[in-house]
């Protein structure tokens, strides 16, 4: 009995000691980009700089609840130095709550102005696109819709899926459609999609799975999901929507990184941000999950789409964030109809 008590006391003391350790040479990053892709990048940073990275992972599929709510709860005594998100919307939420701070460096200047917040509270890098992922056994390339607006055609009734628009990148996509089409037209589009029996999946990963399994013929997902789906099944392929001349273009969603205001390891945080905004990181993410580099003249590995070959949708990220706030309640009601 005494032995057991001693062992547990020792464990208990070591746990307390771990909380008291002085850790100067480290950086704390909260990351909502899928761990399978972000972890190798952070490990490389650790090796190259000798700065210990202590990450907290979450994922868009778990709706970033963990890190976002944690960052909000930690506002008065920040523990995190850098927030790395899969899309700029989460960073904008933090920005509006006064949790992030602007950051400008030589490295941030490499990123096109368009992919940064006006006040540099978030900086974009390595982007994904919204694509149409389809099962070749169920639908031929010729029969696919060319535009997101085609999804309301009766021939596609019940044949396609989209993730829950209250969460993840689908939130962003729908908010952009509201900004682009105007509120009335966007509402009409969503209502027509509902009439056309759109399948609402829990996440983009779920859309991917339903297409691979043949539950639906096609679905709207992110390019990294499509890339993974192609690796998983030979029956799956993807296309970019709205690429016609004068088309509305495909939505481009950059990763976004923010420096946290009054963070404990501010300088190390800046070093990590600069590292994430390098060509090397963009190439790594292009290879691992088909993300498209944003820094001009970065070499794109073969088989990975390049921003130069896609017609992008014109998005005002700040305006989209504002639209999002206004439309979320209506979208929730639309879902519950």
């Amino acid at each position: 009995m005494n032995k057991i008590l001693s062992i547990f006391s020792l464990i208990f003391l070591s746990i307390i000691y771990s909380g008291c350790k002085n850790r100067n040479n480290e950086v704390i990053v909260y990351c909502s980009v899928d761990q399978i892709f972000s972890e190798p990048v952070l490990k490389d940073f650790e090796q190259q700089t000798g700065i210990k990275v202590r990450p907290v992972y979450d994922t868009e599929e778990t709706k970033s609840t963990g890190v976002l709510n944690r960052l909000i709860a930690e506002k008065d005594n920040p523990q995190c130095d850098v927030f790395w998100s899969g899309d700029p919307l989460r960073n904008n939420v933090l920005r509006l709550k006064g949790i992030t701070t602007p950051y400008i460096s030589n490295q941030t200047e490499l990123i096109p102005r368009y992919f940064r917040a006006n006040d540099n509270q978030w900086i974009g890098f390595s982007a994904r696109a919204r694509v149409l992922i389809f099962n070749k056994k169920l639908i031929t390339m010729d029969s696919l819709p060319g535009s997101i607006l085609d999804l309301i055609k009766p021939k596609y009734r019940g044949k396609f899926a989209m993730a829950n628009p209250l969460f993840g990148t689908t939130t962003f996509h729908v908010a952009v459609l509201f900004t682009y089409l105007g509120e009335e037209q966007a509402r009409q589009l969503l209502n027509n999609l509902k009439t056309n029996d759109i399948v609402i999946a829990t996440s983009n990963g779920d859309v991917k799975k339903r297409v691979i399994q043949g539950e639906v013929a096609f679905g709207i997902a992110d390019s990294d999901d499509a890339f993974e789906a192609k690796k998983e099944s030979r029956d799956v392929d993807y296309i970019f929507l709205d690429q016609q001349k004068n088309g509305i273009g495909s939505l481009i969603i950059p990763n976004a990184v923010s420096l946290i205001k009054n963070s404990p390891h501010n300088e190390n945080g800046k070093k990590l941000i600069d590292y994430l905004l390098t060509r090397e990181t963009e190439i790594k993410l292009a290879k691992s999950c088909a993300q498209m580099p944003l820094i001009k003249d970065t070499e794109v590995p073969s088989g990975i789409p390049s921003l130069d070959d896609i017609l992008p949708m014109k998005v005002d990220y700040d305006q989209t964030s504002q639209t999002l706030e206004k439309t979320q309640t209506w979208i929730k009601e639309w879902l519950e109809k």
Partner: protein
Amino acid sequence: MVRKISKFLAKNILTIFLGCLLVIPVLVLLCNWISDFGNSAVSGLFKKDNLILIGKSFLLSGTASLLATSLGSVCGFILNKYTFAFKGFYKLVLLIPLLIPDYVYAVAWKDAWQLLFGAGTNINSYTTVIFVHILVFSPIAMLITGSAISQVNRGIEEAGLLMISFRKMLLKILIPIIRPSFTISFLLILIFSLSDFSVPAFFGVRTFTTEIFTQFSAFYNYQAAMGQSVFLLVICMILMFSESRYLSDAPFFAIHTKGSNPKLYNCDNLKFLLHSFLILQLLVAVILPVFILFFQSFSGSEFLLGKAWKLLSPTILQSSVLALSSAFIISVIGLWTSWLKEREKYKLPNTVLMILFIIPSTVLGIAIIGFFNKPVLNFIYASSLMIIIGYIGRFAFISARILGNGIRQIPLSLEEAATVAGIGSLRKYLKITLPLLIPSLFASFVLVFILCFGELGTTIMVYPPGTELMPVKFFTISANAPQALTSSMSLINFGIIISFIGTFYIIGRKVFKRFSYE
């Protein structure tokens, strides 16, 4: 004087400890919510939509709970009243659904359905959520009812059988005696089902819990999320209050049978029927989902079991050490709480643990983050103590209930005899009560270990940066991983838990043999 002080400390230190670690953080959060949003927050709760949604959620969870209790109770009855071959095997294997995270279970069952009936078959409905909840939670009823049945004194049944038929004895004597165990199973399953997020979310069913989650994570609307959490909390509290008021003496999960030597029946003419029933349940609840996980693990274009092991292996040590230490601390707290309740008739710590048990995990996580994230408390906030505090809030109530049952089964006469002999309270406790409670302590330790090992809701909110824990890594990796990798990770997760249970089983046999007092 010294005696009075030590008695006061023994009685109140635990309450103060729980108060500082968990009650004050929750109260601070609640006060902030009320002061920030005032009356509008409270009145918003009684909107028609909210009431309809909570009604629907209760209907869903109530149905699932009723059916899970019925199924589990029938299994508990068969396995504890009849003698037949492979009984021990069935008892052990039918507990497996409790060990698989319910979201993994939901995925496996949906895939099994589509494998059997085709990919186009749509099963997203209330019925499927109820079905999965029945399979996942019925082992709880099986454990509780089984435990109650095995405590019924054979003399009562035999006396009844002298006068009436078996069927009448069952209806008029046995079922009324064990009725509280049905009620407590029903209430516990109802609370588990009501607070479950992952299964309804996966099948696209809107419940009150998914609504709370939506308010937290899509709208970052703390006012609505907190309000709905409080609403759910109040309802669960009313349910649990009835449980503690009227059913606290009901068997929960007893380890001993207090020398009752339960009556067992032969089932020669029912053998085929009983085996068929148990095999069917085994097939639906265990074999099919586990088979699907195996099938998916090996069906991908590449073999991913090695990769899954490489990803999860760094988490095994940390997760195990943390779950073992938490199980130890929680069992000590459970022991203390139950001793105060059963022997000192001091119920406050038990009530505190009960309230903490029903707080949604996200709310608990936010409460302890808000409270402990202060520079002066950084030694707690930046360490794994935060996870242990979260686990105490989530699971100490279960430990207290198991140990409370254990204490109730120790004859008071033993302690009274010691008092007459002039033995002091502490010595009496250490030399009589504690040794007799070792099997219950061991059972509490094992159950809490399993629960801590798989806990995700609070852990993902509070785990310190740089810590690698199995449920968190499993969840974050599986988000965008191929299905074969996710299934491989589930299998590894499952394998590790089974290995621990195997080890505990071997140790447990020795412990039970040494400390048995029947």
